[in-house]
């Protein structure tokens, strides 16, 4: 007999295996934020690397995790998801295992960005950065779960997945102050930003990379990350239980 943990591990390693077998598929997508950094940072004031880099790390995770449901959508269409539904794998494991997998490319991506930026003068606090990655991991799991939920809801209409994903991703990104600070914006924009869990994650990452560990930003990020993971996993597990 298996357990929920063993089932989750089975799904998790199955998800990860193609990435390990063909690392180039992921390396290619990891270059994207670097291009972004290369072309965008020269437009910023001289000392903004410290401010900008943590936001870019969050942004690259946002893009990757929100798209991850398309893999499930593809497997729903080809039939391998159905095959897994007939196995005794527990339904929550089918979702949690997939969502947990998001952590791995997230860590790789963050490490790459930091490594590339360090020679250009990006300085960070190691303990803070590691705690920042924990928060980011929780957020990625939540976002991945949301993306899978969306895939399950779009199983008969692929356009729905991409329409919703594309519609949500830019408001989330812009309202989190990743590219430009929200602080100078009008009141309504700031109010919207306060409702965006991603804002708290971005603020926390900036504080933590800078070494400001015991701050209210860190606390806000922890709460936003944990809440996103909890709510989206719950919704995703529900959707997976009802899927056929």
């Amino acid at each position: 007999m298996t357990t929920l943990v063993a089932d989750t591990r089975t799904v998790f390693s199955r998800e990860l295996r193609p990435v390990l077998r063909d690392p180039f598929t992921i390396i290619f997508s990891m270059v994207q934020p670097l291009v972004f950094l290369a072309l965008f940072t020269p437009l910023l004031p001289d000392d903004s690397l410290q401010w900008f880099v943590p936001g870019i790390i969050v942004m690259s995770c946002l893009f990757a995790s929100s798209m991850t449901g398309s893999n499930l959508l593809f497997e729903i269409q080809t039939g391998s998801h159905e095959r897994m539904l007939v196995t005794p794998l527990r339904r929550p494991a089918l979702l949690i295992g997939r969502a947990l997998k998001e952590i791995v490319p997230m860590f790789a991506q963050a490490a790459l960005i930091v490594a590339v930026c360090a020679p250009f003068g990006f300085r960070f606090n190691l303990v803070g950065a590691l705690l920042g990655l924990v928060i980011l991991a929780a957020f990625c799991i939540g976002l991945g779960a949301l993306s899978y939920t969306l895939a399950l809801a779009s199983k008969n209409q692929e356009w729905l997945f991409w329409t919703v994903q594309q519609t949500l991703i830019f408001p989330l990104l812009l309202l989190a102050g990743v590219l430009l600070p929200i602080d100078n914006g009008p009141g309504w924009l700031q109010a919207l930003a306060r409702g965006n869990p991603l804002s708290y994650v971005v603020d926390a990452e900036r504080a933590l990379f800078a070494g400001d560990i015991l701050s209210s930003a860190t606390f806000g990020g922890l709460v936003a990350g944990a809440a996103t993971a909890a709510v989206e996993l719950w919704a995703g597990v529900r959707a997976m239980r009802n899927s056929d």
Binding site: N71, S80, V86, T87
Partner: protein, 319 residues
Amino acid sequence: MMETYGLTKHFKDVRAVDGIDLNVAPGELVALLGPNGAGKSTTLRMLTTLIPPTSGTARVAGFDVVRQQREVRMRIGYIGQGNGAGHSQRGRDELISQGRAYGLGVRSARARAATLIESLGLGEVADRRVSSLSGGQRRRLDIAMGLIHEPGLLFLDEPSTGLDPQNRANLQEHILDLRARHETTIVLTTHYLDEADSMAERVIVIDHGRIIADDTPAQLKAEHVGDRIILGFDHETDAASAAAAVARFDPERQDTRLTIRTQGAPRRVPEILDDLRTLGNPATEVEVVRPTLDDVFLKLTGRSLREGGTADSRELVEV
């Protein structure tokens, strides 16, 4: 091995499956035969716990498909219409994780995968990406995945659809071989008549979500259609006098031809030809027409199972 009572599935106002009572004994090889949309796949999806029935019950491998899903899932293998193996995966990896899903340890999953790769002739392609395999190779990989936990009951949904004749024959061989070696109970759906005919000992004909016939292919054909002997003569008058000579078979005459409907036609032909020769009125042509399952379906429903078949094709088949 499996029994259903009044199994029913409604999608909105469509009765996809409309009260199916079915009993399958251990070791049977059963084919569910019917046109597209008859409810075969929906039935299979209920039996494999993929969708709950609207009403009715089904016990599969001894457990209820609604209340004891895990128990059922542990004991059955399922090969759906799509590709079970993920396209970005390697075949061997998929087999191993499939084994893990059924609770095999890493080592035994690996060993089992290797055995199946060997016996299904996948050795050369098992470590390639699934997306690079041919249709026939993918199908064999799907079969291997369905067998990883050595299920006593295997469901196959349209296993050979989309395969060329050679691959289809190859696949059928694998399925029959599996059955011969492990006494696996097999339930498959098909809309290929020859497949149902050659593989299954028991054919269940489904139409509009109901079972309309359930027997061995031979019995179905004998009971619903029977053999025909068609005798040809040079002149209508010869045919007419021959009809009188074989009146005990109640022949039908059409111009210069006589049609006799009888069971076991091949065994009757020599006797009939002898009689006619003795009477000095020998047949100049003879043809024995054995019924197909399509004839059975046509007889039962007034429609042909063949692609695009309608009531109009009746005359063609009934020549």
